[in-house]
C-alpha cells in the first residue's frame, strides 16, 4: 500500500467562486483512516479554509455525508484504503444546494420533516409523559428498523426522483412517518395520510431503490414507501365502499 493518497476535493466559496472547482490534496494513507480523517488532515495541516460538517466520527450523528467517488457515503465510515491507490473524489451531497465547499443546505428536508408529524400522536390520552405505554418485542420489531434513521440525507442524494421532483417528500421523511405509523403507541396514521398519500408523497416514488442501497444504517426507505403505497391504495379502494362497509 502506498504511503499517501490524493484527495480531489470540491471547493466552492460563494464570495469568490462563480462555480465549484476541484482542488487536490495529498494526505497520508493509513489502514485505519476514513475519508473524514483525510479531510481533517487537510483542515489541520494543509488548508484551514476547507469547510465540511462532521461530529461523532462513528456513524451516529449523520452530519458527514458527502459524495465519495460518485456515491453518497458517510465519510467517517468510508475508508481511504478501499480507494487506494486513488485519487479519491470528494464532493458535496448531490441534489442539495451547496453553501460552501462540502457543506450543503438541508432546509428543504427540515421544512418537509415536520409535515409527517414524526412524533407519537395520541388522541385519547392527556399526554405521553403522564402514563406508561407498554409495548411487546414483536410490536417493537414492527418499526424499529425505521427508527435507526440518522437524517444523514444520503437517501435524498441518491434518489433520482428527488433530483427531478424537488417537491417529493423524500425517502427519509416517509420512512420516519412509517416509523410512527407502525408504532403501537401512535394514533396519528390518518393525519399523516393527508401528507403521504399524495402525488408529492409516496406516489412520486417509482421504486428505483437507490435510497435503500445508500442508507448506512440498514433502514429500508424504499420498502417503507412500497408498504405505504399498499396502505394508501387499500384505503382508496375502501373509500369507494358505502359508508357503513368501510
Amino acid at each position: 500500500m502506498p504511503d499517501t493518497i490524493t484527495l480531489q476535493v470540491a471547493r466552492y466559496r460563494p464570495d469568490t467562486d462563480a462555480a465549484p472547482t476541484m482542488q487536490e490534496y495529498v494526505v497520508p494513507l493509513r489502514q485505519e483512516w476514513a475519508v473524514l480523517d483525510g479531510l481533517n488532515y487537510i483542515k489541520d495541516q494543509l488548508d484551514g479554509t476547507l469547510s465540511f460538517r462532521w461530529s461523532c466520527r462513528m456513524g451516529i450523528c449523520g452530519s458527514c455525508g458527502m459524495t465519495v467517488d460518485g456515491d453518497p457515503a458517510l465519510t467517517c465510515g468510508t475508508f481511504l484504503a478501499d480507494y487506494a491507490p486513488g485519487p479519491v473524489r470528494v464532493e458535496p451531497l448531490a441534489n442539495f444546494p451547496v453553501i460552501r465547499d462540502l457543506v450543503v443546505g438541508i432546509d428543504d428536508f427540515m421544512r418537509k420533516l415536520p409535515k409527517v408529524k414524526p412524533w407519537l400522536v395520541r388522541e385519547d390520552e392527556p399526554g405521553v409523559a403522564d402514563v406508561e405505554f407498554l409495548q411487546t418485542p414483536p410490536q417493537l420489531d414492527e418499526y424499529q428498523q425505521y427508527s435507526m434513521c440518522i437524517n444523514c440525507m444520503l437517501c435524498y442524494a441518491a434518489c433520482p426522483v428527488y433530483a427531478i421532483e424537488p417537491d417529493f417528500l423524500g425517502p427519509a421523511a416517509i420512512a420516519l412517518a412509517q416509523r410512527y405509523n407502525l408504532d403501537s403507541r401512535d394514533q396519528g396514521a390518518h393525519q399523516r395520510m393527508d401528507v403521504l398519500a399524495t402525488a408529492e408523497g409516496v406516489w412520486a416514488c417509482t421504486y428505483v431503490g437507490e435510497c435503500t442501497s445508500a442508507c448506512p444504517k440498514g433502514v429500508d426507505p424504499a420498502g417503507a414507501i412500497q408498504r405505504y403505497k399498499l396502505t394508501a391504495a387499500t384505503r382508496t379502494l375502501r373509500s369507494f365502499l358505502p359508508r357503513g362497509e368501510r
Binding site: 393527508d194 398519500a197 417509482t206 391504495a233
Partner: protein, 116 residues
C-alpha cells in the same frame, strides 16, 4: 396542502396487479408451451381440446386481462425507467404516449386475436 390522490392509487394497483399476474402466469405458460410441449417432456393437449378450451369465454377474458395488465405493468415501469432512470423528463409527453399508447395498441391486438 396537496390532496390525497385516488388516481395514483388506482394506477399503482393496476401496475401491481399486472406485475403479480405476469409473475404468476407468464412463466407457467412459457414453460408449458415454449419448453415442455415442444420438447415432448409432456404429451401436448390435442388441438381440438386446446381449441375448445380457448373458445370458452372465461378463458378468453382471462387471457385478455393477462395481456392488458402485463402491458400496463410494462408501460408504467418502462415510463419511469426513461423518466427517472435516464432523466428524460423533457420528453415526458412522448414517453407517456409511447408507453400507454403501446398498452392500447397491444390490448387492442390481443382483443382482436381473442375475440375477433
Amino acid at each position: 396542502m396537496a390532496r390525497r390522490s385516488s388516481s395514483e392509487a388506482i394506477g399503482w394497483l393496476l401496475f401491481s396487479a399486472g406485475g403479480m399476474v405476469s409473475a404468476l402466469l407468464v412463466p407457467v405458460l412459457l414453460l408449458l408451451f415454449g419448453v415442455v410441449f415442444p420438447l415432448g417432456l409432456l404429451a401436448p393437449p390435442e388441438h381440438a381440446h386446446l381449441s375448445a378450451v380457448l373458445r370458452h369465454p372465461f378463458i378468453r377474458i382471462a387471457l385478455f386481462v393477462l395481456c392488458m395488465l402485463s402491458l400496463l405493468h410494462w408501460a408504467h415501469r418502462f415510463r419511469y425507467t426513461l423518466h427517472d432512470g435516464l432523466q428524460l423528463k423533457q420528453l415526458n409527453k412522448l414517453i407517456n404516449l409511447l408507453c400507454y399508447g403501446g398498452v392500447v395498441a397491444g390490448s387492442s391486438w390481443a382483443a382482436f386475436v381473442l375475440f375477433g
